[in-house]
Symmetry: C2
Subunit: 225 residues, 2 copies
């Protein structure tokens, strides 16, 4: 029975990796959609989130079934409970990628992001995608050093977020209120996406080292501004 | 042992109710702090979130200990797993109340919210507080009808959010970009707070009826605009 148990645990872990892959791809494509005002791509990202939600539900059901059937204790119990949390993080990340795509769709055929902010948003999108790729790798490898790297990447995200706010608060801002609102929300979506990727990595660190990573408290956009 | 088990389950439930009470109070006080530019109150709300985080950690530890010790199955197992999720919702709600308070602190001695938006923000704050009070009551009473009411309240929150956006997008907006950014984030904080309250209530409905409430997908601010 122990073997069947660990097989099922591995399969849950594979599900998490697949979720990370899907939402990483989603944030990349959503970023392209919003920068290029690509409606088709935006629709595609919006529709694809269903797959992530399905995986999330499936994973939850399997984790609970595993708890009921195998009644794990100690580390094994923590692994299953942590998987549930990681799945929730990843599901929420998918929602955030979808929010970016929905903003692209809402503004189509206009572009939501003005030209002088393209580079910053592109960087935020790419960084978000890299963070999630690393989170997926951390799930597979349980590499604590790699997991700790994510916190540094998250600092880079905060810096980009601050850059975005400096643009917004600059007296020379000439893009009007609607764009300011859009950019504010976009910044928040990328920042929260990154928080969830970091959270996934921290949960792995906890499983491996037994040391509790601090609760992820998102430095609010406003604080950074 | 069954009695000790149900006592512990009750105590976890009481912990959740206490968390709901604390974060409901926090969002109410944070709203006062931001509308009155009350620095002391804002600091108070910011500091008080630690209590919520402590309760969350304590509750998680106890839920996991309960799983390990009692190895519940079926409904009992679902109750414990659902408690973990509700605790996460409530912890996050506390963060959002704290974000509102931090914005009040950041802008002090200025007021973050212009006079003509006071009524709307006040209403959002009060509605958020009521939603959380109801969520707490739903945890205690397991009253499905009351739980379903929360979704209607959440519709009211969406409406308020839309009102906020209409103000922002109005050509006569005269409060500048910084305030637009602040108001955008505030709107998002209240909306997400409400989502978490609804989520708590839906999780109770699921436990009682066995019917899966739809995954809470937050109607993004932008979509509502």
């Amino acid at each position: 029975m122990r073997d069947a148990y660990h097989e099922e645990l591995d399969s849950i872990s594979e599900g998490l990796v697949e979720m990370a892959r899907l939402v990483g791809s989603a944030i990349g494509r959503a970023t392209t959609a919003i920068l290029d005002a690509d409606l088709k791509l935006a629709e595609n990202v919006i529709a694809a989130d269903e797959k992530v939600d399905d995986l999330h539900r499936d994973l939850e059901a399997r984790a609970i079934a595993l708890l009921a059937r195998q009644q794990p204790v100690a580390t094994d119990l923590r692994i299953v409970v942590t998987s549930l949390r990681m799945s929730a993080d990843l599901e929420r990340s998918g929602d955030l990628a979808q929010h970016v795509a929905k903003l692209a769709r809402l503004r189509f055929p206009e572009r939501a992001v003005p030209r002088d902010l393209h580079a910053t948003i592109l960087e935020m999108g790419q960084l978000a995608q890299r963070l999630m790729a690393k989170a997926g790798e951390v799930i597979i490898t349980k590499d604590v050093d790699l997991a700790l790297q994510l916190e540094q990447d998250d600092d880079a995200m905060d810096l980009l977020h601050r850059t975005l706010f400096q643009h917004l608060m600059d007296d020379r801002w000439k893009h009007g209120i609607e764009t300011a609102v859009d950019v504010t929300l976009l910044g928040r979506y990328y920042e929260r996406f990154a928080d969830h990727a970091v959270s996934v990595a921290k949960r792995v660190v906890y499983l491996v080292t037994g040391e509790h990573a601090d609760e992820i408290t998102s430095p609010t956009a406003v604080e950074g501004a």
